[in-house]
């Protein structure tokens, strides 16, 4: 194992712990993004092949796609709740 992999592993564990400890759901999404970075880096570092690259690319691109969907959905639910509260 190289120092590079150790650094990425440490960041992965650190961001995961921060994610679990965070109260604000949007802050959790930001920590989840760091987990995505470290995970994609580790995948590429571990499997130095074209399929390893494909796995890292897909893991990262789709994690941002999911974060976008989650942030949008949570916001929409908040808006609907607020409108419902006002309208009675």
């Amino acid at each position: 194992m190289r120092l590079a992999e150790l650094v990425m592993l440490a960041v992965l564990v650190w961001a995961s712990l921060r994610l679990l400890a965070a109260r604000d759901v949007y802050a959790q999404l930001i920590y989840l993004n760091v987990v995505g970075f470290a995970l994609a880096g580790l995948i590429a570092a571990t499997w130095r092949t074209d399929m390893g690259l494909l796995a890292a690319l897909c893991a990262f691109i789709f994690s941002t796609l999911e974060s976008n969907a989650m942030a949008y959905t949570i916001r929409r639910v908040e808006e609907i709740r607020r409108e419902g509260g006002r309208g009675g």
Partner: protein, 172 residues
Amino acid sequence: MITLTWEQALEIATGAVLAWLNFVVVDILMGLPEAPGVKGAEAIGRSVERRGGDIAGGYFMGNIVCSPDASAGTLLAAAGYWCLGGPQGGLLAALTVYVGNRLCADPGYAGTIGALAATALVTVYHRVLGFDPINFVAGMVLAITTIHGIDHPTASRIIGDIARRLGRGPRE
């Protein structure tokens, strides 16, 4: 077995500085702090502002989380260079980031430009400086941790300050 040397630490630190400068400069110049590019980014930006941060930095962070931007481009271009052993890996990553932007309904080109700039940087890092490209990938992971992994309000204020100095403050 873990092999640790000072050379590796120096290479990772150099990679972190280059990667940080690359994605922060490209993202700010492409207008990430000005407005949320996708719907989810606005919610994240407002949350950072609510916790005592800066709205420009908040939009910047929201845009990074919700769509592949220059930071994603930097990471994936370096990973591509490492896996395929040359700049062609970075070009493949740039193409993937372009497709990812369109999937996220993001109108911007920050990710693609960031990936191409990072490909050039990693090529210099490997061919000219003689460093191992995997250390650039680890450097990029450290660089994003300084923005997203330590303290969001403080990081957003620093980014907001740089953005206003470069004339890319929030459009409101």
